[in-house]
């Protein structure tokens, strides 16, 4: 177990170093969520029910959605880095070292989480001047939920990358064709209640819906609604499934 932790730390540090050396790289993965924040967020001020108590209310509703968008646009693509490393020979070089195979996946996924949380904090800092005041404890809980989501999405992205190692295009084809349905069927952009019944039904099966609902509740300091429990379970379930598939894929990566 100590080897797994030590090895995962080594892998995490290796993955994190490029961001540490040039932090501007963190902005790269958050371009689309930022664009949505700047060009879509203001429109929500005009949506009945979202801006009942003024524009700040609609921001408090939308920002948790943007945080989940970070995972959707950024973390889902993390496997591409692994694909590149399979192509160049870096992964092969690492597979010959005694690094624990589970740790190789966990360390990479921890970097996805760290990246996601750093980007989330940046978003929160950006919206503070606009009067958005997340509940302090709620923000902490939101980041924990986001971390669990990051583990699940990151590990699944790595598993997908390894599955697509013979045909790189497949990775992007699958990732980008899942991206927008997941985005629209989670109520990230607009409440699903506004849509037809089928969208609401499908949306209930999307774990992201529950994660973003929980995020929205804790953001305004509400822990009593049951949304937190369902959201936390959804995020944790995703993390467990992701880690199981991811570590299995990584153990088979060398063959």
């Amino acid at each position: 177990m100590t080897t797994v932790i030590a090895d995962a730390t080594t892998v995490f540090v290796r993955q994190w170093l490029p961001s540490w050396r040039s932090p501007a790289g963190l902005l790269f993965g958050m371009l689309q969520p930022l664009l949505f924040l700047v060009f879509f967020g203001p429109l929500l001020g005009g949506v009945d029910g979202l801006a009942a108590g003024g524009a700040a209310d609609s921001w408090a509703w939308f920002v948790p959605g943007v945080l989940v968008m970070l995972a959707l646009f950024g973390t889902t693509a993390t496997g591409y880095g692994l694909l590149t490393e399979m192509q160049t020979g870096s992964l092969e070089r690492l597979l010959v070292t005694p690094l624990n195979r589970t740790a190789m996946l966990v360390g990479r996924t921890l970097n996805d989480v760290a990246t996601l949380l750093a980007q989330a904090l940046l978003i929160v800092l950006v919206v503070l001047p606009f009067g958005v005041r997340p509940h302090p404890l709620g923000l902490l809980v939101a980041l924990l939920l986001l971390a669990a989501l990051g583990v699940g999405v990151g590990a699944l992205s790595h598993a997908l990358a390894i599955a697509c190692r013979a045909h790189h295009e497949t990775f992007y084809a699958i990732q980008s064709s899942l991206l927008f349905p997941l985005l629209f069927l989670s109520g990230l952009m607009l409440p699903l209640d506004m849509g037809p019944g089928w969208m609401q039904t499908v949306g209930r099966w999307n774990p992201l819906t529950h994660v973003v609902d929980a995020l929205r509740a804790v953001f305004v300091g509400r822990y009593d609604t049951g949304l937190l429990g369902v959201g936390a379970l959804s995020a944790l379930a995703l993390a467990v499934v992701g880690l199981a598939l991811g570590t299995r894929a990584m153990r088979r990566a060398s063959g």
């Binding site: 030590a6 090895d7 080594t10 540090v13 290796r14 170093l17 490029p18 050396r21 790289g25 590149t84 490393e85 192509q87 160049t88 020979g89 870096s90 092969e92 070089r93 690492l94 597979l95 010959v96 070292t97 005694p98 690094l99 060398s254 063959g255």
Partner: protein, 330 residues
């Protein structure tokens, strides 16, 4: 250092079964420098990957650095260094970071990993590039960085898969200087693959020639060439008249084979060609055959490959060399 018995690897892709390596036996002693030589697809890299725990063998067994590659891969990995065909360092990483982290991957302390990184980067003339991004290095620099990373834990055995492919002659020479320097300093056992004949000939003490997944020859390059190919004597005659007499004389030389006449040129293979040549020329003189020129051509490893497979390594083609019966007389 390495002991493989009956090592085999079979790949199945889209219904086709490919026998990449078949029943390979190999023993490599500590301190040896062994080169796997063979055409593309011969099974060199597959063998290396099985020995380095990257591929599980379909059949057979191998012990590397005292441990079984299938049952104790982690023990094997601790004791081997690997320089693969690709570039091992991440392109968005800084040079020194990658070396230090490689040390950490082998369980060195941070302090020890940093010390080894600085020492090895200096030894391979990369110390000025420690803060550079790997993606900005030249091909030769990247290859030397791969060597640094392969040596960070001072392994007793180093695998190099096509280490010099894609490098220009200058960088290839420089790389070899470093590889041989490493061996001298650390006593590392080296097992490498190459499809450069000259490289295997000049650098390796022992060449294992592989074709279609099987070992077809295994010895010191000089012995392989002497025993499996032999020198070639080529004489050019003044006119066509003497060709028949020259062929008759050549056929009587002890151990002569591959006797070929083309125009006024007669050539043959014979052991110790330079000792045989003076007597052969005297005999031609006695027979009244006028010789315009004569030379002894030393065999290459390509001649060895040709003698064992009927194909040339150089052109990489699978087709046997055409040889009409009129030309091959003995």
């Amino acid at each position: 250092m390495i002991r493989a018995r009956g090592l085999s690897k079979r790949f199945t892709s889209k219904g086709h079964v490919v026998e990449a390596v078949t029943d390979l036996d190999l023993d490599v002693e500590e301190g040896e420098l062994v080169a796997f030589l063979g055409p593309n697809g011969a099974g060199k890299s597959t063998t290396l990957r099985m020995l380095a725990t990257l591929l599980p063998p379909t059949a057979g067994s191998a012990t590397v650095a005292g441990h079984d590659v299938v049952r104790e891969p982690a023990q094997v990995r601790r004791r081997i260094g690997w320089i693969g065909q690709g570039s091992g360092a991440g392109h968005y990483h800084q040079v020194r970071d990658e070396v230090v982290l490689q040390g950490r991957a082998y369980g060195l302390s941070w302090r020890e990993a940093r010390r080894r990184a600085d020492e090895l980067l200096a030894a391979l003339d990369l110390d000025g590039l420690a803060r550079r991004m790997v993606g900005t290095l030249s091909g030769g620099q990247r290859r030397r960085l791969d060597i640094v990373m392969g040596l960070v834990h001072a392994p007793p055995l180093l695998f190099l898969d096509e280490p010099s492919t894609g490098l220009d002659p200058h960088n290839r020479a420089r790389l070899w200087e470093h590889v041989l320097g490493v061996r001298e300093r650390f006593g590392t056992t080296l097992l490498l693959t190459t499809h450069y004949l000259e490289e295997a000939d000049a650098m390796a003490e022992r060449v294992v020639i592989i074709d279609h997944g099987r070992v077809i020859a295994d010895d010191a390059p000089a012995r392989l060439k002497a025993e499996l190919a032999g020198d070639r004597i080529v004489v050019d005659l003044a006119d066509h008249v003497g060709v028949a007499a020259a062929q008759a004389a050549a056929a009587h030389l002890p151990g002569a084979h591959d006797l070929v006449a083309r125009g006024t040129t007669v050539s043959l293979r014979v052991p110790r060609g330079s000792e045989v040549l003076p007597g052969f020329l005297r005999r031609l003189d006695e027979d009244g055959v006028a010789v315009r020129s004569a030379e002894v051509v030393r065999p290459t490893l390509d001649d060895v490959f040709l003698s064992q497979t009927g194909r040339s390594l150089r052109d990489g083609s699978a087709a046997p060399q055409p040889a009409s019966e009129a030309e091959v007389l003995v």
